[in-house]
Amino acid sequence: MTTTASTRAVVTGRKSSTPLRRPGFQRREQLVSWAFLAPFLIAFALFLAWPIVHGIYLSFTDQSLTGAGGGLVGFANYAEALGDPVMWQSMWNTVWFTLLSTVPLVAIALLMAALVDRGLPGQWLWRLSFFMPYLLASTVISQIWVWIFNPQIGAANNILKALGLEPLAWLQNPDTNMLSIVIATIWWTVGFNFLLYLAAMQNIPSQQYEAASLDGASAWRQFWSITLPQLGPATVLILILQILASLKLFDQAYQMLGGVASDTTRSIVQYIYEAGFVNYRFGYSAAISYVFFALIIIVGVAQALVTRRKKEL
């Protein structure tokens, strides 16, 4: 399977990506290519491509986890999903969580990065504090925040009391449980966006700041006129990554409520899980998965349209 010295004369001085016309060489190049690709392609076929296709098939059956059923039922699962108030409620919860979490997750990250990028002393400490939570498992952050939101002894209510406000039931109240999850999520994942913004800011040439400061532009002015405009592409990307990440809400919402299904926090991924692994309805669960996938595709297409527009302008 190795190319031998016979290729020597042929390739001299050529870009190896240019197809070479000699048949023997080409065949060998084909073989070598597939050898490089094979491990990834096998895994790709087994654990991504096939599950997508098989999932579509399952969504048209009444397959259950217990092995019962499995006959084709046509569009029954999809019809049921579209008429299922719990599905719509989970869809709305997911979108609501995305709306609540995305703006602060991007804005706070921008603020953090803009301040850290000013080169104040204590760089490693800022990075550690903002990014560390991102390294924690969802289980760990859930345990910490469940305790903070404990209505009797939690720190959250201690703070409210200190500010002279009424204590809240946080996770135990349907009116505030989603908000509690949003707060915990901001703390948990803002560090990722912060690092992306920081990297984007470091790509702005420092000469621009030097020139501006020679012209007497204040730091504030420099941020608005130099930093912010050049963060456009990064912001679009961070925003879209954040929306896609928020739409996949499950881990922390599920664990912070101790696995209990709550109508106000059940996300679409949680409903997929419940339909499949609590109610054992694989077919129905697969159908909801594809409804969710459709939502992701819509966001993806919207992003493609927005970025293309931007490029044209």
């Binding site: 490089f36 498992a137 720190a155 400061s213 879209i240 697969a286």
Partner: protein, 304 residues
Amino acid sequence: MSTTATLSPTQAVTVPRAQRAHRPRLPGQKPFGPLRVTAFVILALLAIGWLLPFLWAVATAFKTETDAASGDPSWIGASGITGDAFTAILSQGNVYVWAWNSLITSIAITVITVAISAGAAYAFSRLDFRGRRWLFFVIIASIVVPPQVLIIPLFYEMLAFNMIDTHWGLILPQVVAPAMVFILKRFFDAVPIELEDAARVDGASRFRIFWSIVLPLSRPILASVAIFVFIGAWNNFLWPFLVINDTTLMTLPVGLQTVISAYGVQYAQVMAQAVLAALPLIIVFIIFQKQIVKGVATSGFGGQ
């Protein structure tokens, strides 16, 4: 930390911004001007806000259960500092098993992902074969597929493979990372082709070239991808939660989740557990901060 830059034009050109940790202080900018002080104060407040939840958890972990449950907000409980909660957790043994399981499965996922992605990326970047363009398109398009959508068919597949409740069942579905193929291909595209051509003239095979020229040159990007994959694997919850039921095979996140209810209201123990589980990655982060920050930013942007 900040360097005072003298404004000679040559220097401005020769020091690329990306190599600096942050923006240098500018000439005429006072080290402690009012704006810098304001920025510092806001930054410090944010940092305190972000550290507090974790510090509370640490403080509670060192309290007695009675103090922890009393709701007394002071940092040190009335009965003083105690390591009882940690002793209780560590004496149970499961934590070690889960940490070990997390470590070996995360390493396996990272090694396999990086190896197979690098091979595929090299083929897409350098080799010419039939179907290259559409195959690459299909793989890039699959980046949009959320893993959560696949849990049902994947679980079904693992049942068929008899891999439910095995570490292979946990590892294998996590090794397909099309975004990483994309990132690595982009990096390989930028490696000068002349180096490889020279080696080929000397009769080196593609595999030799890949192994002894391309991979060594790609160490930074490989590290970046590996860090990104490892963090994801270490913290992954949903798939390990579904595929593993045997307590002795669980990873740390899944294992810890099963005992929350078992401990009931033993807050000191729950917090001790959270702190213990958080510690390894925090230590790793403190040691490799630069690489991790860079790695996450590179992979985060490239892997969109």
